[in-house]
């Protein structure tokens, strides 16, 4: 299986250990990836889009042109990148007006959006649909028995469902199946689809902290020991939320946050050192030690 890998900004520039765990998982499962030099910021659906939607669409259109020229299916590690590229591709294919406007801007770099691409997926979607849970299960060498995790999909992994076309936008279950393949148990918690609060945290951190407290409280009540995420913005928000929630509510959760590919890499027998587990804050080591799992 060959994919054009779209890395985005946050993973390579802030949490590169996620790029590493994704790489080892892809290698083990036979997903060949290539990073194209022409890719830039996707750009993300929150920041640039809030400043100028036309620029957001034009920059996304430029990335799509680069991917179109390569001609291979696109895989992202970040939910925001997946949502931007999928949405821009959808909008540009369906709106002649938008396409015309974007192509005028793209003339400045001798590019033209054609609309030839229809396979853009987040790595989790690739794992579920193209690799399959059975193949993942077969690759697990060290089942993470006893580990209870709260799976957080992230808004842009689910919605707008009409464009994302993957899981139920309010009752997602597919990623739970991947988690189960690692031997870990995805807990059922009431606030599973509650937003991580990254968007609103730019304007008001206090509101984000309240949302995070709701989420953490419900995950803890369901017995979760760690969060599993698919998006670098959710990842960073939850790591910081441990501090923000403590400050506002004086409640100590100290939830370690793992990327889905971290969980898979560990279960597939890779060491914590290899995939940079030491760079997670708080460290997940205590959780694994308590379960007697050597990572």
């Amino acid at each position: 299986m060959e994919k054009t890998l779209f890395l985005g900004c946050t993973i390579p520039g802030r949490i590169p250990f996620v790029e590493k765990s994704a790489k080892v998982v892809c290698d083990d499962l036979g997903i060949k990836t290539e990073v194209l030099g022409g890719f830039a910021c996707c750009p993300d659906p929150v920041g640039i889009n809030s400043l100028d939607k036309n620029t957001w669409l034009a920059l996304a259109g430029r990335n799509l042109c680069v991917a179109e020229a390569a001609g291979k299916p696109v895989m992202t590690l970040c939910t925001g990148c997946a949502m931007t590229l999928k949405t821009a591709n959808h909008d540009l294919k369906h709106s002649h007006h938008d396409k015309e406007k974007v192509n005028i801007a793209l003339k400045s770099v001798n590019k033209e959006f054609k609309g030839s691409l229809d396979n853009i997926k987040h790595i989790a979607q690739v794992l579920f649909e193209e690799v399959g849970v059975d193949k993942i299960k077969a690759a697990v060498k060290k089942p993470l028995k006893g580990l209870k995790v709260a799976v957080h999909l992230g808004c842009h992994f689910l919605r707008p469902s009409e464009v994302i076309k993957f899981d139920d936008p309010f009752n997602p279950t597919k990623i739970d199946e991947i988690v189960k393949a690692t031997g870990a148990e995805p807990v059922n918690y009431t606030e599973k689809v509650l937003c991580c609060g990254h968007g609103v945290s730019n304007e008001n951190i206090d509101i984000a902290a309240s949302m995070n407290q709701k989420k953490f409280k419900s995950a803890k009540a369901a017995g979760a020991q760690a969060f599993v995420v698919l998006c670098p913005s959710c990842y960073l928000r939850f790591e910081n939320a441990n501090r923000d929630v403590k400050k506002k509510f004086n409640e100590d959760y100290n939830f370690p946050v793992l990327y889905l590919t971290d969980l898979l890499a560990l279960a597939m027998g890779h060491g914590g050192d290899e995939i940079g587990i030491k760079d997670h804050r708080p460290s997940p080591n205590k959780v694994f030690e308590a379960l007697g799992i050597q990572i």
Binding site: D52, L106, K107, V109, C155, V200, N202, I275
Partner: protein, 173 residues
């Protein structure tokens, strides 16, 4: 609050106006909004009502009324009339940003992407961490192309306004 005809024109011209008109204020958007659950200061239903009537809710004093939107797309998903709320809110945010009303982090992100082609330019500590893990130290970014596209959409002009006014602030204070 006054009706702003220019604002109304923009809302109706940018969107399929008949879709906005279908709003019968059922409140499903606000009822399901995770931010509205925390504060009445952000109210998607109210924003749609104002947008239909042509009252611009954008103001420096009440930035949260617009930027409280966390872009979770829940409202779009639950709207019984398929109104593209998040799209409308993007227009409101764009109008606010044009008046230099938006979170500083967005301004910084806009500048970073314009200057570097990425929202998060590589720093030496991360580069070292990457190399130690056997990852490429960094990736080449098409900085000139990104700049050219952003100039073609007029983003450079928006950015220069944001920067100037952001710098003015401390002097005024």
């Amino acid at each position: 609050m006054i009706v702003d005809p220019e604002f109304k024109r923009q809302i109706y011209e940018t969107l399929l106006h008949e879709k906005v008109n279908y709003c019968y204020q059922c409140d499903r958007c606000s009822f399901n909004c995770p931010v509205h659950a925390e504060t009445p200061a952000y109210d998607p239903r109210q924003n749609i009502l104002l947008a239909i009537t042509g009252i611009n809710p954008v103001s420096a004093e009440n930035r949260l009324a617009i930027f409280g939107c966390t872009v979770c797309d829940t409202c779009d998903e639950v709207c019984p009339n398929d109104i593209p709320l998040t799209h409308i809110f993007s227009i409101l945010k764009n109008m606010a940003a044009a008046k230099n009303i938006c979170p500083d982090s967005f301004k910084g992100q806009g500048k970073a992407v314009f200057d570097n082609g990425t929202a998060i330019p590589m720093n030496p500590a991360i580069s070292r961490r990457r190399t130690a893990m056997g990852l490429p130290e960094k990736y080449t970014l098409p900085v000139d192309e990104v700049k050219a596209v952003m100039k073609a959409t007029g983003f450079d002009k928006l950015l220069s306004q944001l920067t100037i006014e952001a710098k003015k602030k401390p002097e005024e204070g």
